[in-house]
């Protein structure tokens, strides 16, 4: 019976792709939002219980943190802080995106660019940036410029390296296909190489943006306390731990939301096939 079924499936293999019966995992996968919310709720509950049980003054519970967060939204200090923090972040990340993707793609396409710039990025990626920040302050002072440099130093290498590897790893068969139908070099890049490389380039962008957040917070903690870094430092210094936690959680959530939005953007822009299969 079993073997007969297998043969029958093989015979029809050319006319219809087979669909698996929906299992438990598939049914869970059908409602991702519900499960994500549940997982978050569970995390918050554990936090609440853990904080209350520990009785540690420096470990505020979820509800205390939430109230502090709402309070800071109420008095506007959080918005003001984000305004200050976003400035070096946006400038730095924009610069990293333009230069990083541009250089990375060029490195992937051309050996001479690769020889010229790859060592720089390898060094940048390996170097511990926190150790270099005093050096940046030394050169660029304590203003906006050094914070932008901190963001760029952290986000640029990963964006450039991912773009480079993405382009270098595109399928030679697809480029040969494009060539065989007399596609020009530009068509080959724009219609085959870039769409194929885009998921990995965007993975680099997501990592780079996440690194940019680290960069800006590090800069605000190590260079001069402004924006979010200032809020964290200030609330810590006056032992206002629930507000300090609220700021930290808010920047984490902000970073996660930004990165998730980037992922949605990628799927919408480049990969209609993935959108369908989700």
């Amino acid at each position: 019976m079993l073997s007969a079924n297998t043969t029958a499936q093989k015979l029809t293999g050319d006319s219809q792709p087979q669909h698996a019966a929906p299992g438990l995992m598939a049914r869970i996968g059908d409602r991702p939002v519900l499960w994500r919310v549940l997982s978050l709720a569970l995390f918050c509950a554990v936090w609440e219980v853990g904080a209350r049980a520990s009785g540690n003054f420096a470990f505020p519970s979820f509800s205390q943190t939430l109230f502090a967060f709402l309070e800071m939204i109420g008095d506007g200090s959080l918005f003001w802080a984000y305004g200050r923090t976003l400035e070096p972040l946006v400038i730095g990340v924009t610069f990293s995106l333009l230069v990083g993707i541009g250089t990375g793609v060029a490195m992937g396409l051309r050996r001479d660019v690769e020889w010229l710039t790859l060592p720089v990025f390898i060094v940048m990626q390996a170097a511990p940036m926190a150790a270099l920040i005093p050096l940046v302050t030394f050169v660029y002072g304590i203003g906006l410029a050094s914070k932008v440099v901190a963001v760029v130093m952290l986000s640029l290498p990963v964006i450039a390296m991912n773009s480079y590897k993405a382009v270098r790893n595109t399928s030679p068969s697809l480029t040969a296909m494009c060539h065989s139908f007399q596609g020009s070099r530009w068509q080959q890049i724009s219609k085959v190489i870039l769409p194929e490389a885009s998921p990995m380039i965007f993975a680099g962008v997501r990592l780079g943006v996440a690194e940019g957040f680290s960069g800006v917070v590090l800069a605000e903690l190590l260079i001069t306390p402004t924006g979010i870094g200032d809020l964290i430092t200030y609330h810590r210094s006056i032992a206002n731990f629930d507000s300090m936690y609220a700021v930290i959680v808010s920047i984490v959530v902000f970073a996660v939301v930004t990165v998730t939005l980037l992922q949605l953007l990628e799927t919408a822009l480049f990969r209609p096939d993935k959108r369908r299969s989700k």
Partner: protein
């Protein structure tokens, strides 16, 4: 036509089918990889219009290399390839390639993949989609136009590759082991479809395969290549009646004898 020491007595049935003019000519082609690996040695061949010629041989005989040189995807180390009387310098609109690994863009629908050759030529979207739709239907994929490659089986993917090659309306179709990545049942169906397709499309086919049965089943002529270095070992013209029943061919004694003959000739090159 150069024939290096024939290993199989070529059946004498050439007269009737030798009237067509050569559309592709390969003259003195050598291909040397990395300075010392001789992939092809002094290949001289001509391919007549409207016929299906197979390049057959064990692995390492350079059959795919030769096809890629004719496609303009590889440069020969020496020698030249003429297509319709003109020396080629790269891929051209009169040739279309069907890839062994399908080479479909996973982010594009069946229709866009099939229309891609036309898209590269700058044919307006409406026109190229209309043409692609016609060929998608012709290869038996009607109703799958908006699917993505990962939603198709291997055999269906290769049909898209075939539709893409047909859509550009080239005179010569170059097929690089097109059925080797699909399962046996699909492969047989494909071979039958190819014979039917030839009745509709008046094209010249160059077909690379390592399967003797496949070559004998679909071809008008088989060019047998031998390995290390790759050179033309024999040219076999076939005269197998391809009537209404595709299954009848597989029982044709003529078919079976030819398969046996070629196998005896090829065996000596295997370790």
């Amino acid at each position: 036509m150069t024939m290096a020491e024939p290993i199989v007595a070529a059946p004498e049935r050439r007269a009737a089918s030798d009237v067509a003019a050569p559309i592709v000519e390969v003259r003195g082609v050598h291909k040397i990889y990395n300075g010392d690996v001789v992939a092809l040695k002094d290949i001289n061949l001509s391919f007549e219009e409207g016929r299906l010629t197979s390049l057959l041989g064990p692995s390492g005989c350079g059959k795919t290399t030769l096809l890629k040189i004719i496609a303009g995807l590889l440069e020969p180390t020496a020698g030249e390839v003429m297509v319709k009387g003109r020396k080629i310098t790269g891929p051209g609109p009169e040739r279309a390639f069907v890839f062994q690994d399908f080479a479909l863009m996973p982010w594009a629908t069946v229709l866009r993949n099939a229309a891609f050759g036309l898209e590269l030529r700058g044919v307006p979207a409406k026109e190229r989609n209309e043409t692609a739709r016609h060929y998608v239907e012709e290869v038996g994929l009607k109703g799958f136009e908006e699917k993505y490659p990962h939603e198709l089986s291997g055999g269906m993917r290769q049909r898209v590759g075939l539709a893409r090659a047909l859509a550009v309306n080239a005179d010569v179709l170059l097929m690089d082991e097109p059925f080797s990545a699909v399962d046996e049942q699909t492969r047989r169906k494909f071979q039958e479809d190819l014979i039917r397709l030839r009745e509709v499309e008046n094209k010249t086919f160059l077909f690379v395969t390592h399967s003797i049965e496949e070559a004998v089943y679909v071809s008008d002529r088989i060019i047998l290549l031998s390995p290390r270095p790759g050179r033309v070992n024999n040219v076999i013209d076939l005269d197998i009646r391809r009537g209404d029943d595709p299954e009848a061919i597989r029982r044709d004694p003529n078919y079976l004898d030819t398969v046996e003959e070629i196998w005896r000739g090829i065996k000596q090159y295997l370790d």
